[in-house]
């Protein structure tokens, strides 16, 4: 009798300890998840809070006199002649007209800087599209300078002492006058999405980098996907199980761990110096990134192919299918969701890579939007890096906004991977 009661006491005690241990373990798990979510939340919050203001840009409304004598002195109607007119002068004149009391040379220079240096080119474009404006005085909205933009958005504070501010008291007075006149307005920043890089923050955009990323990833996909899938099929289905195959497998697994900058060095040495491909082109960038992504696709592909049950293969073989027919009719279609998921994850990784592109010249100031695979281009993460390094205050918010764009692309790609996996999931 006593044996049984001591035994059940012991069991009860150990049961309590076990429950306590399980509770602790559960708490650790929840704590880890909460910590990860908190870090993620902090990242998003920091980026979004710094970057959301970049989606708006300040514009200033100027009354521009489109002097026909200046634009088209000989009345030729030729757009090339019109393009050479002194639009900068027209903008300056307009500002002088708004503030006629400004006389000193120094002050006038400060006044002219209220409008962006790109305003002249905007006026040129407006005249080209609306030729009937020539000879008239019209109110035109042009981009304001980045210092004005920062002041309107509150990054440059007016209540600080003048020598601690980038905008002098005089400039502040002019800006406030323009605001009172309804001539300064914040609008949606379309330039951010349509322009390439620029030294002036108000004229800078991510479109050049986005196009570069697009072309680069296209090349990466076109190379890495077929080669990777073919290699995975060969290694899983056809390769004889001997030493050579083992060596190949070990090397592929190791390739996945090689630091990405090494691929950049390879690109420089082989593709640029030996073969002579054009520098800074998405073609070279794509090939380098394809080499980097290949091990990921091969490893994911092999796992997917291995997961196809042997019963399907046996059924197909039993009916008289040859080895390659079994692979292409049955195994590959069933392994495709896993292969696609691996591919998209590899692509998302490649989208965020900067180090290998450094060596092949894609970390550069490139203004023109690339039109093809051989035009010099840069990619989104590189653009973020270059802007983060620039001294102008307005680039801080644009860097965060570009990060948001990049994160948006990455999230979309990963969601596509999840959706594809769900869609093609089959039960057998």
């Amino acid at each position: 009798m006593t044996d049984r009661s001591t035994k059940s006491a012991k069991v009860a005690a150990s049961l309590r300890r076990r429950h306590a241990a399980e509770r602790r373990f559960r708490l650790y798990g929840m704590g880890a998840v909460a910590f990860a979510l908190a870090c993620l939340g902090l990242l998003f919050f920091t980026v979004v809070s710094k970057g959301y203001t970049a989606f708006q840009q300040t514009y200033v409304k100027l009354p521009i006199y489109f002097d026909a004598g200046d634009i088209d002195p000989k009345n030729s109607g030729d757009p090339k002649v019109w393009a050479k007119a002194n639009y900068q002068g027209m903008a300056k004149k307009s500002l002088r007209g708004l503030f006629p009391d400004v006389k000193k040379r120094r002050d006038k220079r400060a006044l002219y800087k209220l409008a962006s240096s790109g305003a002249a080119y905007e006026l040129r474009a407006i005249v080209r599209e609306n030729p009937d404006l020539v000879g008239t005085t019209t109110d035109v909205w042009v981009t304001a300078d980045d210092d004005v933009d920062m002041f309107i958005k509150g990054y440059i504070r007016g209540d600080v002492a003048e020598n601690e501010r980038r905008i002098s008291n005089k400039e502040m007075a002019w800006i406030e006058a323009l605001v009172a006149d309804g001539r300064l307005e914040k609008r949606f920043n379309t330039t951010f999405f349509s322009a390439g890089d620029s030294r002036e923050p108000e004229l800078a955009g991510v479109w050049g980098a986005a196009a570069g990323s697009f072309f680069t990833l296209l090349v990466t996909l076109a190379l890495a996907f077929p080669i990777g899938v073919a290699a995975a099929i060969y290694l899983e289905e056809f390769a004889p199980k001997n030493k050579l195959t083992q060596v190949i497998e070990i090397n592929i697994n190791n390739l996945a761990a090689v630091p990405s900058i090494v691929f950049g060095l390879l690109g420089l040495a082989v593709f640029l110096n030996f073969i002579g491909m054009p520098r800074s082109a998405p073609l070279v960038g794509g090939v380098v990134l394809a080499l980097m992504t290949l091990p990921t696709i091969i490893i994911a592909g092999r796992a997917a192919i291995k997961s196809v049950p042997p019963s399907i293969r046996e059924a197909a073989l039993g009916l008289g299918a040859s080895r390659s027919q079994v692979v292409f009719h049955h195994v590959l279609p069933l392994a495709m969701p896993g292969v696609l998921t691996g591919t998209i994850i590899g692509m998302a990784q490649a989208l965020g890579e900067t180090a290998p592109l450094l060596m092949i010249g894609m970390v550069a100031f490139i203004v023109d939007i690339p039109g093809g695979f051989t035009d010099p281009a840069t990619v989104l993460p590189v653009q973020i890096y270059l802007w983060a390094d620039s001294p102008e205050r307005a680039f801080v918010e644009r860097t965060s906004a570009a990060i948001m764009v990049l994160l948006g692309f990455l999230i979309m790609m990963n969601l596509t991977a999840v959706w594809l996996r769900k869609k093609f999931e089959r039960r057998w």
Partner: protein, 282 residues
């Protein structure tokens, strides 16, 4: 039906290998020989799985292979359509002839062989495609149908022969994996007969099914016997007794005894057979 008289004749007209001489076959009007296997030995690497199997399979008959687990019956079955080729390190020796053609002849493509010898597996394994595509896969693969109408006929015919047509005729596009266990196995049988094989090999086809589905398939086997030769591996002696005309008893890689089902089950010659049948080991 084998009579006692015929049995004696069998014993009297054996050739050196232990089988019947060709003249005997012709003169006695015995069923035609489909598979002739002599001294078949199978090695998995170093381990030997089958020791000197001599067995004949006759046309339009159901031959059952019985024996305790691990005795080599599935291994022997898989030799007949060269499925053992897919296993690494598996080595098959001996003579295996299908209608006089050496099955392991280098000139013979296993694909060809498998178009003549179909297989149904223990766990039903329909492809994750539609019922129509499952059945049509074989004929499409070997180019047996000339037109869509032809293919439709083949599919309908196979499904009818497999006894599945009435149940699926209005949902041929439904996935094959959506059927019940018994239906799936019948689909696999339909898939196998769609290529018009000479022989159908069945590896424990009913072991994963309930008694009703099992009965249905056993009925099917009897119907199919009219047109095809069937070799079935089964761990159920009762099933072997029900469906087969000839039975072979395997034990530890050896063919202990083979003969008419009735004779094996009522008057076995070997003590081991007797012990197995009476359930002394299993």
């Amino acid at each position: 039906m084998m009579t006692a008289e015929t049995k004696t004749t069998n014993e009297a007209h054996m050739d050196e290998d232990g089988g019947l001489t060709d003249d005997t076959v012709v003169s006695m009007n015995l069923p035609h020989l489909t598979f002739r296997t002599r001294n078949v030995e199978v090695f998995y690497g170093e381990t030997q799985a089958l020791f000197g199997i001599d067995l004949d399979i006759f046309r339009n008959q159901v031959t059952a292979l019985i024996g305790p687990s691990g005795c080599g019956k599935s291994t022997y079955l898989r030799c007949l359509n060269r499925m053992n080729d897919t296993i690494d390190g598996c080595c098959v020796t001996g003579i295996i002839e299908l209608d006089g053609d050496d099955v392991y002849d280098k000139a013979l493509d296993p694909v060809h062989l498998r178009a003549r010898v179909g297989m149904v597996f223990q766990k039903a394994n329909p492809f994750p495609k539609s019922i129509y595509d499952n059945t049509a896969y074989g004929p499409r693969l070997h180019g047996l149908a000339d037109s869509k109408a032809d293919l439709d006929d083949v599919v309908e015919g196979s499904l009818t022969k497999a006894g599945l047509w009435d149940e699926v005729k209005d949902r041929l596009d439904a996935p094959g994996t959506g059927l019940s266990g018994g239906q799936q196995q019948r689909l696999c049988i339909a898939r196998a007969i769609a290529v018009e094989p000479d022989v159908i090999l069945m590896d424990e086809p009913c072991s994963a099914l309930d008694p009703i589905a099992t009965a249905r398939i056993e009925e099917l086997m009897d119907e199919l016997r009219e047109n095809y030769t069937i070799v079935i591996v089964t761990h159920s002696m009762q099933q072997a007794a029900r469906v087969s005309q000839r039975t072979a008893f395997f034990h530890l890689g050896n063919l202990v005894e083979s003969g008419d089902t009735e004779q094996i089950f009522t008057k076995p010659s070997d003590q081991r057979t007797q012990d197995y049948i009476t359930g002394r080991f299993g």
